[in-house]
Every structure is written in structure tokens, then in C-alpha cells.
């Protein structure tokens, strides 16, 4: 799962011409460390939803990589 999320984050970053990441850490902030703005976050939710059938922002804002993992774990 972590590998897949890294791939999806990199797809979003690549689409905006931003620097790709080699590794994700749970404590990383989506906005500050991953440099995702609201358009990127919107796209990321769609890509995660397509893959896992879960809207990670459905009931509030997710701010770190670890929180994404948690959401996906919870619904397993």
C-alpha cells in the first residue's frame, strides 16, 4: 500500500512539474513536505478513490502521510 501511495503522490507531483519523491514517511506533511496544494490534494483523493474506493477527505482534512495510511487501514 505504501508503495502504491508513493506512486500516486508522484503522479500528482509529476502532473504539476514538481520534484518527485523517493520515499514517504508517515510524519510528512502533505502540504509542507510533499508540496501539495489544494488542487493536488483534490487530484490525490480522486486517484486514491479509484484505487481503494475510499474518499480520504470525506469527513475532514487529512494533513499527513500517516493519516492517509490510517484511513486506508481502518477501512480494510
Amino acid at each position: 500500500m505504501e508503495k502504491k501511495i508513493l506512486e500516486l503522490v508522484n503522479t500528482v507531483l509529476n502532473n504539476r512539474g514538481k520534484k518527485l519523491l523517493k520515499k514517504l514517511k508517515p510524519e510528512m506533511s502533505l502540504r509542507n513536505d510533499l508540496d501539495l496544494d489544494s488542487l493536488d490534494l483534490a487530484e490525490l483523493t480522486v486517484r486514491i478513490e479509484v484505487e481503494y474506493d475510499i474518499d480520504i477527505f470525506e469527513d475532514g482534512i487529512v494533513s499527513s502521510v500517516g493519516e492517509i495510511y490510517k484511513k486506508l487501514e481502518m477501512t480494510k
Binding site: N15, S38, L39, L41, E43, T45, V46
Partner: protein, 412 residues
């Protein structure tokens, strides 16, 4: 032989004389008209006009579930009305047209709007509103129409009446393959075509020929983009392009040689713009199954050019604007940019609801045959043409675009 109707998909070729003979044999008709056979539909409409009775036009592909949602418990196959044989006796082409052009006020036709969401609603028109913009003159006597709409929809009905009341030939194009359409236009020397922009787009790509007999192309329903306009002029070098504003609720209201519509004298108190939206007075409207106030909100966003006389240009459908986190995106604008990319044959930009921004912009792209485009190439190009929030976040490559019942692009 003077052709009344030709449909190669059904091997039909009917002359005006044969039409009249067939009408004479009719002793009953069903006011609920549901058929895949255009000729059957046309005959039924003519009989209803001659007898001054209501006809309800139903799409041939309506399911039983849709029919019961539309009409409640009305049994559409149990509404047979006898036809007095006297009505059709001694008719010839000119007397038939003469009679039809004096259609009784009791005649009405009901059809259903093709909204992209929810159940279609029923609207009922009379002869006056349906023929408001029918042009009758010797100039139109020899017109040959390419029929590119569903005959049970408003636009199809308007083209049918224009052709019928001028004694013209009607050649079916709707639903045929691209090659068949090209062949029928050339073979029958079609002079007039009325169709949606989507129909024209599909007709043009690819098209190696030129059609010199076509003198008028009419379109409406969606905004024409520059790429399609240019290609139309190349393929139909002798044709004038007319843009028509019409809706199922109001019929045809305005026509224009370009994209600027002028409200004619006599209509100035019946059309207005409020908050960017076009409003139509109820006196111009058909009877409808839904209640309307004095003014009907068309949902069409316009840009006013002058107030007296009122001149305006359509910008978009109100509901089609995509609200991305408070930023409004006009999908047509994005589509027009995408269309300019070499190798792109057709595109659809649509909205997808999103928990972060409310909506995001998505698109589907059909590439030209043999062309493979990369998503990254398209993104890089769009970044030079559009503000970031207008760029589709999800780009899908597809073989075909989905369309609505009328042939308009489906956005959701």
C-alpha cells in the same frame, strides 16, 4: 419522382405521391407515437395535423420504466383514434401542403425535454409556436434536407415541419455511419443540414471530401468551437452557417449568422437578461408539465453586447459551469483549447464531485486514428494556455465520447 423521404438504413425511398397514397389508406392512428421507423412517425404527425388531434412523440428507445415515469398509468398502446377517410381523399402534394399550412388550432404535439439529469419533462406545443420560424417561400421549394436529429425531439420536429411545409425531400443522416452520411450528402445533393455541433464534429473527422451542394448548415444546442467552424467551411465551401437558439420549452427563438443574437422588434419586451442569465417571457413558451412564473429562467448564461436592441452572445449553460473551489470553469473553454492539440479528434470536459474542492475538472480525449498522445504532453501544453484550476486533473483516453439522447455531449 419527387422524393419525400429516404432512409438507407431501412431501404426506404418514398415519393410524395407514395406518401399521399399511404395517407389515404390510414383509418386509425395512435396518439402515442413510438416507432423506430421515421416514415411511420412522419405519417402519424401528418395525420394528427390533418385531423387536428394531439400527438405525443415518444423516443423509440424509451424503456417501459421510463414510459411509466413519464406518463403514469397512461397506456400508450391503447389510444387508437379512428381517422375519417374523407380527410385524406382527393389529396395531391399541393393540396396536402395547403391543408397542413392551415392546421387547426386544436392540433397539439407533446414531447419530452432531454435534460441530462432527472426524468425528462413533457411540454406541449401548438402549430403557432412550432412554425414560428418556419420559412415558406419559393426560394425553399427545392431544398433537400439532411435529417440529422431524432424525429421525436424538438429540433427534429422543426426540421420536419420546415421541409414538409415547403414540399422538400428529407434524407435521413442521423444514426448512419460516417461513410454512409458522406455518401448520402453527395448522392442526394443535400442542400440543407441542421444538426448539433457534436454531429458535425463526428461528420468532419475524418472527411476527405468537399460537399458543394450544401448551401446552409444550421446548428445549435452547444457552442461551436473555432476548429469545427474552420473545418466546416473547408468541407462545405458553399454553405452559410446559421446558429439557432431553440429549446424544447420555447421552440426556435433566435437565429444568427454568427454567434451574436439580436432580439427582433416585437420580441423586445419578451426577452431579458438578469444576472447574466437569459429569461424568456411565458407567452413565448409551450404549455408545460411544470409550473412557470411570468419569466422562464433558461439556464443559459449570456454576455450582453448592447441593450437597445438587446444583442447578446451565449457563454455557457449555467449548470455546465464547473465550480472548482469557488473558481468557475467553463468546460467549453477547456474543450476548445484541447481541440487545438494536434492528434486530438474529440474531447469532453466534465465535472466530478470532490471532497476537497467541491468539484474537479476531468476530461476524456479521443485521439485521431493511429495517434498516441501522452498525458504529460497535453498537460504541458495546457499549462501554457489555461489557468491552473481550469486544467483537467484527470485525463482519460477513450475510444468514444458518450452523448445524450439528442446527441449533445453528456457532461456528468
Amino acid at each position: 419522382m419527387s422524393v419525400f423521404f429516404k432512409d438507407i438504413s431501412k431501404n426506404q425511398l418514398v415519393s410524395w405521391e407514395e406518401l399521399i397514397e399511404d395517407l389515404k389508406k390510414i383509418r386509425s392512428f395512435n396518439k402515442y407515437c413510438k416507432s423506430e421507423d421515421y416514415y411511420e412517425i412522419f405519417k402519424n404527425i401528418i395525420i394528427s395535423m390533418l385531423t387536428g388531434t394531439e400527438i405525443v412523440l415518444l423516443d423509440s428507445d424509451f424503456t417501459d420504466t421510463e414510459l411509466s415515469a413519464l406518463m403514469g398509468s397512461a397506456a400508450y398502446d391503447d389510444a387508437i383514434i379512428p381517422v375519417d377517410g374523407q380527410i385524406t381523399q382527393l389529396l395531391d402534394k399541393s393540396s396536402l401542403i395547403e391543408k397542413l399550412s392551415h392546421t387547426n388550432e386544436s392540433w397539439k404535439v407533446s414531447l419530452f425535454t432531454s435534460g441530462t439529469t432527472g426524468v425528462p419533462k413533457q411540454v406541449t406545443h401548438r402549430y403557432e409556436t412550432l412554425t414560428r420560424f418556419v420559412k415558406l417561400s419559393d426560394k425553399h421549394r427545392d431544398d433537400i434536407w439532411g435529417f440529422a436529429f431524432n424525429p421525436t425531439h424538438m429540433a427534429g420536429l422543426q426540421v420536419f415541419l420546415q421541409a414538409l411545409l415547403n414540399g422538400n425531400s428529407i434524407i435521413r443522416l442521423f444514426g448512419l455511419s460516417l461513410n454512409e452520411i458522406h455518401q448520402e450528402i453527395a448522392l442526394n445533393k443535400i442542400s440543407n443540414i441542421s444538426a448539433t455541433p457534436t454531429f458535425y464534429r463526428l461528420l468532419l473527422f475524418p472527411c476527405e471530401q468537399q460537399f458543394l451542394t450544401v448551401k446552409r448548415l444550421t446548428s445549435g444546442g452547444e457552442k461551436f468551437n473555432a476548429v469545427v467552424s474552420r473545418r466546416l467551411k473547408e468541407v462545405f465551401p458553399g454553405a452559410k452557417l446559421t446558429n439557432v437558439y431553440a429549446s424544447t420549452e420555447a421552440g426556435t427563438l433566435f437565429a444568427s449568422e454568427d454567434d451574436v443574437f439580436t432580439v427582433k422588434a416585437g420580441f423586445e419586451d419578451l426577452v431579458k437578461e438578469i444576472d447574466g442569465e437569459l429569461l424568456i417571457h411565458k407567452s413565448l413558451m409551450a404549455n408545460s408539465s411544470f409550473p412557470i412564473d411570468d419569466w422562464y429562467n433558461t439556464g443559459d448564461l449570456v454576455e450582453v453586447i448592447t441593450n437597445t436592441p438587446l444583442k447578446f452572445r451565449f457563454i455557457s449553460r449555467k449548470t455546465e459551469m464547473i465550480n472548482v473551489g469557488g473558481y468557475k470553469v467553463n468546460p467549453q473553454e477547456v474543450e476548445e483549447i484541447l481541440q487545438t492539440i494536434s492528434g486530438v479528434e474529440a474531447v469532453k470536459v466534465y465535472s466530478k464531485s470532490n471532497s476537497v474542492l467541491g468539484n474537479i475538472v476531468c476530461c476524456e480525449i479521443v485521439c485521431e486514428s493511429g495517434v498516441e498522445l501522452q498525458e504529460s504532453t497535453i498537460r504541458l501544453y495546457l499549462q501554457t494556455k489555461l489557468q491552473e484550476f481550469k486544467i483537467p486533473r484527470i485525463i482519460r483516453f477513450v475510444d468514444n465520447l458518450e452523448t445524450t439522447r439528442t446527441g449533445k455531449l453528456m457532461r456528468n
